[in-house]
Amino acid sequence: MTTDATTLVTAAGPSPGSRMSRVLRIPRSPKIIIGLIILGVFAIFAIIGPLLEPYSPNEINRSWVKVTCQYGPYQCIGEINPVTHLPGTQVPLDVPLAPSGAHPLGTTLYGQDVWSQLLASTRPTLVVAFLAGLVATALSIIVGVSAGYLGGNADEGLSLLSNVFLAIPGVPLLIVLASYVPGADTSVIVIGLIVAVTGWAYGSRVLRAQTLSLRNRDFVEAARVSGEGRLRIILAEVMPNLLPIIASSFLFTTLYAIGAYVTLAFLGLAGSPTSSPAGPWNWGIMLNQVFDQNAVNTGYWWWWLPPGICIALVGTGLALLNFGIDEFINPRLRASGLTRKAARREGIPFRSTLGFTPVISESAGRGHVAAALAAADDGAARGVR
């Protein structure tokens, strides 16, 4: 999040009554639209991805490559030895295939189809990211809003809790948790929860600040004085005004979560589809395999570029959406319409600097303005507005 919560206070302008209309009034800024498009595309792929896979991501088909496994047939990764019924562990010796008709993104060094792996990875990666984002946001709401609203000792205690989690560096804690907690290498849910535990603190601090300011507003006071229960006040009066901040916090946390998950997978801590028990495919584990096999140095760009670009794209989509919402929350960040482009479009010579208001009319006589006034009057008389 790039805004200081305390400045959002006056700009957000809460309203007791018209919550619904405020909530649904999503501004049409290009950032938000592009962000939504990117995320929408990935969401679609997450849903239908596994159906689109031309091949199973683990599959090695001997007809694709000259597969020569070092220790004999059926010893390669992804194959089951028909005699011993054990999974193969060897890496085929032959060079992975470059992109071609059969394999739009080529194959990995293990002889697996990259495009299938990419598709298979989309869903788990996004699921973990959004699950972690949701849980973390929920935690930050519970802790932050309670701390802000209740005040006193509850505030002190909860603030201490969130500050401690904020101060302890997230990724080292994540690494330690992931290496100890069972199920981290197989279950998407467990990893999601671990990531959430390390990522909720910042959001709670922002929400606490905003809740503190809302608490003193008249409409909350009025509700309190009229005897509404605390929980009801929080849910019905305070929360609707926090929605844009909650949305921004969710996006920021999801951005963090996707980075954290991919990091864990890259370090080999989130399980692997080729281990037993098998973990889910994800972009991080693809990159882990790339790194393992030193593929970067050998130039198999079709293997490691796609997952990285996917991560960057999803991250960019989230960040753009987040910026768009930040601009909505904090009107100072919005372009006020007086940009160079707009000036050029209107054919006006222009410079915008703080403290030197531009003067765009060269004519300084009464005639000009009087004519404009007369025209306005005519227009008004004709009912044009």
Binding site: L338, L354, V369, L373, R385
Partner: protein, 384 residues
């Protein structure tokens, strides 16, 4: 009302009446928009305001009337997306040049360097919230220092400090406050510091944009008295912007009333108060009870100020006006001089077509002739 137990400064009385003094700031036909092109909102339309030397000119109106926009635009201090779309703002300096001539400069067309030179040394500004107007991370003294370093480069550091102390004492604070930060001062003290800074270079014009609105009533009174005392001593002209007409009645020599970006009425202060000529002014005046004089029934103005993006046709006030005529709906009245007086009003009621309602036809105290010795105007309080 409370009075501060402080001796008022003695001063030589102002000899020429403010009305006849020379203009120091002439705003002619100023128009200001927010935004460009078709979506532009006309915040100020064709306004003429003349501030004379030594005069206190009050600029009154509701929020959204354009009064702050007008003043800020006049010195090119308006924030984006404000754009000045027409007019000129002439500053006539009293200082004599080498050849004895007086400089006049159009602020709207001046070069940046000229604007920077004129700003603060000739025209200074006091804004509403001094907490926001003072840099929170450096001391008050440092801000004085910055100012003096730029405009009085010949002073040494200790001379600058002494000047700072002198200015603080002028507004009733001690010199050691220069070492404070803005958050360590109370609201009233901050505003005094702001005023001291505004006076640092002995400007010819001071623009005050709602300087006391954010303060409590007692502090308000103190600050205003302070201000008027300084005005008497130093002789600067002041453009005082406020929504509170009752303040202006005591402070101002002349008052201009704005509504929806246009001027509605201009008159001497007690003329305006005693004998408003425009329905809007009449409505405003009946919102506050006077402390003295006969009691009157209180009436507000029905309705609310218009959205500048969707102004009514013709006169912007006509939907709320109890004396609106057909013509008011169709044509916008221009600000015209009323016969036989120095006053101006923008209202079709004075065009001769209809009879002027009695409320708008009260006798103008300016026409009464000189007041008999010893009689004090019950309205205008002695603030000097």
């Amino acid at each position: 009302m409370s009075t501060t137990p402080r001796p008022t400064p003695t001063s030589a009385p102002v000899t020429s009446t403010p009305r006849e003094a020379e203009p120091v700031l002439e705003i002619r036909d100023l128009s200001v928009d927010y935004g460009f092109g078709a979506d532009a909102v006309h915040a100020v339309v064709g306004c003429d305001v003349v501030l004379r030397r030594g005069q206190v000119l009050g600029l009154a109106g509701e929020s959204g009337s354009g009064k702050s926009t007008l003043a800020m635009a006049a010195i090119r201090l308006l924030r984006a997306p404000g754009v000045i779309t027409g007019g000129e703002v002439l500053f006539h300096s009293a200082a004599e040049g080498a050849d004895g001539s007086h400089e006049s400069i159009d602020l709207l067309r001046a070069a940046d360097a000229d604007l920077r030179r004129v700003r603060w040394s000739e025209i200074s500004v006091v804004l509403q919230s001094a907490l926001n107007a003072l840099n929170p991370v450096i001391t008050i003294g440092a801000q004085f220092d910055d100012l003096l370093k730029v405009h009085r480069p010949q002073l040494t550091e200790s001379e600058r400090w002494d000047r700072g102390v002198q200015l603080m004492e002028m507004v009733g604070m001690t010199g050691d406050r220069l070492r404070s930060f803005s958050h360590e001062l109370s609201g009233g003290m901050r505003q005094r510091a702001m005023i001291a800074m505004a006076l640092a270079l002995e400007p010819q014009v001071m623009i005050l944009d709602e300087p006391t609105t954010a303060l409590d009533v007692v502090t308000q009174r103190e600050i205003l008295e302070e201000l008027m005392g300084l005005r008497d001593r130093l002789g600067f002209a002041a453009l005082f912007i406020t929504h509170d007409l009752s303040l202006l009645v005591e402070l101002a020599d002349e008052i201009v009333v704005m509504y929806a970006g246009r001027l509605m009425e201009r008159a001497a202060a007690d003329s305006l108060f005693r004998s408003p000529r425009v329905p809007y002014t009449y409505g405003l005046l009946h919102c506050f009870p006077p402390m003295h004089g006969e009691r009157r029934p209180m009436e507000g103005i029905p309705g609310s100020p218009p959205d500048l993006r969707a102004l009514p046709t013709g006169c912007a006030f006509h939907p709320r006006c109890p004396w609106a005529m057909e013509r008011c709906r169709k044509e916008t009245p221009a600000l015209l001089r009323l016969d036989g007086s120095g006053r101006e009003a923008a209202c079709w009621l004075h065009s001769g077509e209809a009879t002027v309602p009695a409320e708008l036809d009260l006798p103008d105290p300016a026409n009464r002739g000189p007041r008999p010795a010893g009689e004090r105007d019950p309205v205008r309080r002695a603030t000097r």
